[in-house]
Every structure is written in structure tokens, then in C-alpha cells.
Symmetry: C2
Subunit: 480 residues, 2 copies
């Protein structure tokens, strides 16, 4: 990754180095130069990412000659919200998708995966000559491979992929006004670079979003880690874990509120906070290490087996096929919701108790959660991902974006309200984790810890990688 | 389906008729004629199906000039067992795979799916000119489509697909010595028929296996219903149901043995027996119909959603890809077992109580089980399967073969010990059903029944189809 505009730095990670760019508001004056001739940025779509990115870019580019517009379908129900956030037809910053595409030098495609699959040809046909195509994850590449399509020649194709939800991308950016550098890390990928300025444009976009640091990947690698991650420790595994443990604690004699706290509140609260501030080993140090070790030992292999299966299916394209098949099926019969599970009825009570009651780290839950997180880390490392991608996609995104959001709402709310690709994946794999926890891990949690496995955890290179990445961003608790 | 040898009959099913052949030992004298020139049958493989089919065919053809040989790898650990069952090198009825293939006029391929995927080309190359290729399910066709391969030209390709486990195919055949016609129904498919005798050979094979009645399908249709069925009500859904209900009853205050009985014993025992003897509506009549109706209403849509998803994935080839991917992964890391789940520790105690204690039909469990069964039936009907295939693959195989086997062992034992394709599928989809039962069905079981849905159940055409199929076989309880 080389920039003509920004000063990159070298991040030391286990076994080598990575070139990264540290962000911050002091770099905003460099954005016009780094965007290399881009005068109009068109953000297509107004989901959580579309809204966050359009607003952050507009704010970061305020006072420059670069404008940010939003493109939506004429009948889009999001038009009113976009207007309420200051993107209007009158000012020329809100228009129909193809009109905004046609006038933009950088087209940022943030519509839903299914819509992107359906409309990308029409959008490509409307592009200005030489316009840059911007993506925020590798889904489209996977889709084009699966369907024999291709990205259009002659256009730069770049991706900037924030490692967090749209809401977090916006919220932390706002907090960045007082804590310079607060934000959500992002990876960039340069897929096609006809004029040699694609990397700088991607870096400018990432800095403009407020990324504390930006690292490099490929669309393929991003796609794999992103889709596996949300099915794994970011969302699917969390859902499976809290469902399994809630019943486990109830059967162990806990009342429902305590069971909720031990299964779920401990993960979204103190475990996430501890990892964010002090890393994975600090979780073990902050609880009953002997029980943590037993839980870790009982869980690791069962979790790894599923993560490996998910990875195979994502890399093979099977998982994407299932999303495409689901889209057709869901047109006939809508997806059922999973928020009716009994545990969620107690969420309000748990949240109400927060003022007077501090939930501790539960050692059983912690051991199982951390084992699953490390299983994903190890699988990604075995598959050759760079350390920045591994720790951002397996740990930082979880503890700095998703878990705090689940802490404010609840896990089931998140599952029922995330992107369709993520929602389908969570429903597909969450129950697999639940079954593995119930049928393999929990029944053996009474056995002695596997000393070799625990020693491997304590000396895992991930701790070094996570610490290196943590130094690149200010420590800030997201306010949800 | 037309035969030059056997007298077929017309089965009246909802909306039309099917041509079927009723079996029985009185037809065995017709077998040599129906096999049309086949003098040597080579059964390749000695899993449960291989063993059952080789023995049944040998017994049925005893006294004729048709010999049945078994082909195994030179180092196959099954050789000793084959010898113990009378297939020996000395008598020329046990040999290496390719040698047996080369000398057989009908080659019945019953090796595991993964082995068939790896070895089919070698086997095809060794075939005698004009030899008939025999399959017992459509996996190979699915695999060839997925990999761009093809079946060799110039050979008849037929399938005879018993709708039950190998052990049941043998056990009921033995019982057929006293109750003529006892056995496991089979479908046949004629995929290539160069000499015009393929249908008769398939019928002869099916009659020789002891099928009470034989119906016609295609390899494609058989493959879909077979693979969906085992992931659905035959195995995957049962596993998900008993895991969900066991915890549900425990949390409701049942002791573990009672919870096991209400969740599992009731399904594998009285519910299966009632359906086998008197059909689906008899289950409702034999229990608290009001609670049955509520459970049915709470479950049907959630189960249907998953069955539809499975069907899409199987029809698309996605499910098969996942089996192929798993084969590569499992070479490195073996599949974990799921029999450690706490409920299975109580199986012996439940079985020991049988002598003195009759488990009743539990209305909650019954409503959920029957709703899932009907969801599969309805999905198959919507996808255009013939009624014989629907009722055999969704109901008769369950109640006459698999559930009695699970009743004798337990469900988890069955999951951990079935074919790899079925085992992978159960682990993949069982947890999905469990999650749907826990998160969607059980939380709403307290609501009023959906009268329209219940009326639809009571007037479902499946009852007529099942009754018609039931008349074609003697009522006999399998002895496991």
C-alpha cells in the first residue's frame, strides 16, 4: 500500500509487518488532493452504512469543493429521512439512483446485497467514463463470480470496508470531534486501478469516514473474513451461545434475570469492555481462571469445527448461493422472527438493574466466548489472512461496535434487524453453535482443563497483534 | 411403468393414479425372467444397505442360476463380516471391487457417497459391455451434475431405492417368511434403457429385496426427496425436536426421565406406532386434541420455512457441495459426536421402565411432530412429487423403519452412526429445527389454535394417499 499524499506507517505484527494509515481529523485538509480529481461523490443507498458514510464524508469534506450526494429509488421510503439529514433535491444532493450515478466521479454502492445483485448492470451502464466504483464489502465480487459476470473495464474499483455497523461508524465519528481519531477501523482493497490513483482515493474515503487506522486487503479476502465473521463470533456464535447458556443457567437453578445476566449481559457488558480495554487474557485474569480454562477447553474444538465449516462454505460460494436462494423464497414467504424466545422477555428488567447492580464476568460464559473468538482467529490465521484483518474482523468489530449495540438493545433484536445477508447467516449458523455448545461443550465442562490448549491460548500471537492494533486507536467507549 | 413380466396395479391417489407393483415371495419364481439375461449380480460395498441387499437378493434367487457376489476393496475391514455371512472368495462370491464389477451383468453400487464420488470413473471403466448399472439413490447423479461428469453411454442405468435403513430392509425381509409381503417399500427409476428391459430388471431387484410395493420415480426426484427427507422429518427434525422439548419439559418441572419420555419416547414409541397403524389423524384422536391443535398451529409455519430452505439447497446442489467440502475437511479433523448431550444419559432408564410403564402420546410433542411431518408432505406436494414418494419418504420410512430403530437405541446414537451424508445433514439442519421450535413455536404454543390450519390438516389429501399406500403392505411391527 503506497500513498502519494498520506504518510503511512509500519505496524509490527506477529511474523512480519503491515503498512497502515493512522487516521484523524488533522488529515481532512489532505482529502481533496488524495481524492485525485473526484468532485462529486454519489452514495447510493440509505441503509445504516449509506446514512453514516454519506454524513461522515459530507462533514469531513465540508468547506472543500467536493460534494456528496445520495441516490435513491424514486419511491424509496428513505427519501424523507435523507432529506431530514440535509440531503435534498433542491440542493442537488438527493436524486434518483441512475442520475446520481451518472454525475458522480466516485460512486459508493451501499444498497442491500440483493438489490446490488439485481441492479448492478444498470448502474454500471450509467457510470461516467473514468468514474471510480466504490464498495464497502466484497459481496458483489462473490456474486459476479457465482453468476459469471464481471466488473466493467476502464473504471477504478476500490473498497473501503468499515469494521463495524453503520450506526457505530457515525456515532464514533461524532465522538471523534472531541477525541481525535475515534472511529471504526476500515480495510481498503484496490481491485482495479487504471489511473494509478485508486489507493489514494480509497485512503481518502477511509480517512473521511473517520477510520482510526486503515489496513489493506483484497476484495476476496475481505469478503471471506467479513461473511465468516458475522456468521461466527460477531453475531451467529453470540446468538447461539446466549441461547444455550440461558437454558443452561436456568436448569442450574438461576432465576430468569440472573440467567440472562450470566448468559448474555456478561458478554455484551464486562467481557466486551474488558477485551476492548485490555485484551483477551484480561478476561481470564478478571474471573475464576480455573473454570474459565475448563470452559475454554470444552469449547474450542467444537467451535473451531463450525468456523472451519463456515469458512469452507463461504470460500466455495455455497453460502452466497444460499442467500440468493433465500431471496427468491422470501419473496413468497417472509422470514420469521426469532425474538420471541423466552429469554428476551427479561431484557428490560436486566437493563433496568444496571444502575444498581454490576454484572461480573461469568467464568463459564467467558471461557466459551473467548474460545470461540480464538477459534475464529486461528482459522483466519490458518487461511492466510493478515493480522489487521483478523483482529478487526474477529475482535475489535465485536467489542467496539456490535456487542455494545447488543448491550443497548439485545441480541435477538440485532439478529432480526441486521442486513438480510447477516440475518440469514445468523439464523443458519447461530443454531449450529448453540447445538455444539449444548451437545459437545457444556456436557464436558466438568472435566479438567486441557493444559496444552490453555497454554496455547496464553501464548497465542493474537495478543500481540491485538495490542499493536489497539495502539493505533484512541481508547473510547462508544456511546450507543 | 410397464412390465412384460409382472402384473402391475393402479393405485388411486389424490388427484389421479399411480402404477405400482405389489411384491411378495410368490413372485420370486418370476425373477430370472424379469432380470432378462442377468446371470451375475455384483453388490459393491458392505454397509448396512450392501449387506441387506446382497443377502436378500441371494435368498430370493436361491435355486436359480443367478449368483450374487460382493465386491470390496482388498483391505476392506468388512471382508470378515461378508465371509461370516457366506460371501467367500472360495465360492467366487467375494472379490475385489473391479473384478466383481468386470464379471457382473448388474452392478449394484452401494459404497458410501464419498467413495462413489471418488471411484465411479474407475468402476465405469471396468464394466462389462451391456452391463446394467444399479444405484440405490440419486446421489451419484447429483454429484455428476455438480462436477460436469456423466453416466457412461450404452449401459442401462436403474435405481431401486428402499425407503428404509439397510437393517430394516433385512429384518422385515426375514419377517416376510411368515408374513408374506413384509418389507420396506422401494421406488425405482429408469435413467437409461438401451435394450428395453431396464424397468423389469429394476422391478425384479425391488421384488427380490422384499418390497411390499414398488413405485416409480426419477433419479432427480428420488435424490431430492431422499436428501430433504433425511434432513427433515426422518432424522434432522426429530433430533431438533427432542433436544428442544427435553429442555422445555425440564424447565417446566419434569424430572429428566419424564422429560425424556415426553420429548422422545412418545415420538419413537406411541406416536410412530399410531401413525403406522392408523394414520396421522389418529395421533390427534389419541390425545388432548385442543393442545395438539395449539402445538400444531404454533409449529407448522416455522417448520415449513426450514423444509422449504432445505429443499432449495438440495435442488440447487448447494447441500451436496457442502458434503463434498466436509469430506475434505474431515480428512484433517474428524467429526465430533453429539451423543454427549445430557438427555441421552437417561435413555437406559427410560427403556428399562418400558416393561412396567406405558408412555402415552404427549399432545404438545405430537402436535409439533405431526406439524413438521405435514410441512414436509405439503412442501413435497408443492414441488410436484408423486404421492407414493411423498408418503414413503415423509411418513412410512419414519414410522416403519427409522423411529423404531431410534426407539431401540436412541436418536443421538442414530445421528452419530448413520451414513456420512445423512450425519452431516442432520448436524446441519437438526439445530435449525431446534432453534425454530425453541424460538418460534414453543413461545407461542399458549395461543389459540389456528382453526383454518387445523381444518387444513384434517382434510389434507395426505390421509387418503397414506391409506392407499398402507393397503398395499401387510401391517407388521418391525422387530429391532
Amino acid at each position: 500500500m503506497r500513498s502519494d499524499v498520506f504518510e503511512t506507517e509500519t505496524l509490527t505484527v506477529p511474523g512480519g509487518t503491515e503498512t497502515v494509515l493512522r487516521g484523524g481529523r488533522h488529515l481532512f485538509p489532505l482529502l481533496p488532493q488524495a481524492f485525485h480529481g473526484v468532485r462529486r461523490i454519489g452514495v447510493i443507498g440509505w441503509g445504516p452504512q449509506g446514512r453514516a458514510q454519506a454524513k461522515n464524508l459530507r462533514d469531513s469534506l465540508s468547506g472543500t469543493e467536493i460534494t456528496v450526494s445520495v441516490g435513491l429509488r424514486p419511491d424509496s421510503p428513505s427519501r424523507a429521512d435523507a432529506r431530514a439529514h440535509g440531503f435534498t433535491e433542491e440542493s442537488g444532493t438527493l436524486g434518483d439512483v441512475l442520475a446520481v450515478v451518472a454525475e458522480s466521479d466516485l460512486v459508493v454502492l451501499l444498497i442491500a446485497d440483493a438489490a446490488l445483485a439485481a441492479q448492478h448492470q444498470e448502474i454500471f451502464a450509467a457510470l461516467k467514463p473514468g468514474a471510480t466504483i466504490g464498495l464497502s464489502h466484497g459481496f458483489l465480487l462473490g456474486h459476479l463470480r457465482a453468476t459469471g459476470g464481471d466488473l466493467p473495464a476502464g473504471h477504478a474499483v476500490i473498497a473501503v470496508c468499515p469494521k463495524g455497523m453503520g450506526d457505530s461508524v457515525r456515532r464514533l465519528y461524532e465522538q471523534g470531534a472531541t477525541v481525535n481519531g475515534a472511529g471504526i477501523n476500515a480495510s481498503i482493497a484496490v481491485h482495479a486501478d487504471p489511473d494509478g490513483h485508486a489507493t489514494d482515493r480509497a485512503l481518502a474515503w477511509s480517512v473521511g469516514l473517520g477510520s482510526p487506522y486503515t489496513f489493506e486487503t483484497t476484495l476476496e479476502s475481505e469478503y471471506r473474513s467479513d461473511v465468516v465473521g458475522e456468521r461466527g463470533i460477531l453475531l451467529g456464535a453470540v446468538h447461539g451461545l446466549v441461547e444455550a447458556l440461558y437454558r443452561w443457567f436456568l436448569l442450574d437453578g438461576s432465576d430468569p434475570v440472573t440467567a440472562y445476566e450470566r448468559a448474555c449481559e456478561t458478554v455484551t457488558g464486562p467481557i466486551a469492555r474488558t477485551i476492548s480495554r485490555a485484551g483477551l487474557r484480561a478476561v481470564r485474569e478478571g474471573t475464576d481462571a480455573e473454570l474459565f480454562d475448563r470452559a475454554y477447553s470444552a469449547t474450542y474444538a467444537a467451535a473451531r469445527e463450525i468456523v472451519a465449516e463456515i469458512y469452507d462454505e463461504v470460500a466455495d460460494g455455497t453460502e452466497l448461493r444460499s442467500v440468493v436462494l433465500a431471496d427468491a423464497r422470501l419473496a413468497v414467504r417472509p422470514m420469521s422472527r426469532i425474538g420471541g424466545s423466552p429469554m428476551w422477555a427479561h431484557g428490560d428488567e436486566v437493563r433496568a438493574r444496571r444502575a444498581t447492580h454490576e454484572t461480573p464476568i461469568d467464568p463459564l460464559t467467558a471461557g466459551m466466548f473467548v474460545a470461540t473468538m480464538v477459534a475464529q482467529v486461528d482459522e483466519f490465521a490458518d487461511r492466510g489472512h493478515a493480522w489487521s484483518e483478523i483482529v478487526n474482523e474477529s475482535i475489535i468489530e465485536a467489542v467496539d461496535s456490535l456487542l455494545p449495540y447488543m448491550h443497548a438493545r439485545d441480541v435477538a433484536y440485532m439478529v432480526d434487524n441486521c442486513s438480510r445477508t447477516a440475518r440469514l447467516g445468523t439464523r443458519r449458523w447461530g443454531p449450529r453453535f448453540q447445538a455444539a455448545y449444548e451437545q459437545i461443550a457444556l456436557p464436558t465442562v466438568g472435566a479438567q482443563a486441557d493444559d496444552k490448549l490453555v497454554a496455547g491460548f496464553l501464548s497465542n500471537p493474537v495478543h500481540e497483534a491485538l495490542a499493536a492494533a489497539a495502539e493505533l486507536r484512541p481508547s473510547v467507549d462508544i456511546s450507543v
